[in-house]
Amino acid sequence: MIPQSHFLILSAILFCIGLFGALTRRNAVGILMSIELILNAANINFITFNKFLGSSDGLGQVFAMLVIAIAGASAVVGLALIIAIYKNAKTIFADKINLMKW
């Protein structure tokens, strides 16, 4: 019905939007949200290929599940870090945190 390429294009669009967000958001939480978007775009890819390449062992879906789990874990740890940084530096804007500047 819907050709494979359309799904892929959709996932590409979402990936690029997420990339743009990861590069431009000042708020650290915003960056993390953009990263979630990127992961989801990758998920779409997995499911698409799972359906259209027709493997009987459902590797794509399993992989997508694992990705979701990992995304969750990373979001947890990331947010814990953000909160710790917020406690220290009193800010969550990424462009204010430049201790490693030359």
């Binding site: 949200m33 259209f52 390449l53 947890v76 740890v77």
Partner: protein
Amino acid sequence: MSGLIQQLNNTGLPQEFMLKAIFYIIAASTVFFAIRMVISPNVFHGAIFLALALIGIACIYLYLDAEFLAVIQILIYVGAIVTLFIFAIMLTASIQDRTIKQTNEQVLLSAIVAFVFLCFFVTIIRRNPWQAAASKAEGLALAQLGRLLMSAYVLPFEVISLILLAALVGAIVIGKARK
């Protein structure tokens, strides 16, 4: 989707067309929400838009015969992770101020980079002659998925649990208030 299609067949509407139209609408709105998320000045709004985008993606999963995954997506992503994001946003103040810029100064460059990437991806995708497999699986039943998890993919399953444990412990350690 085949069951749905059968049902829709009964209603007499041009099913394929309708499905297709709905797909594109959902896809467009997902993209719209995603864009709104990355450029919204209010990060709280951004989180809401993220939730909406994720729901949109879940609907798309439905089109791909991945019902379980769609549900999982909504449950975990929207239900847990976005909630977590909102917690973090609440905890880290300054969401009220509208005058604070939310995008940093490398907007133009990033836009260009993202756009070029997009073009690249699209070009690749369109160039490639996608062949659909001869026989497709009719979708994976839930029971079958569960069985797969416990047999063929038990290793990743266990590793995931370890990762989750590590994340848990790590989050607690990092988040602990220091004496």
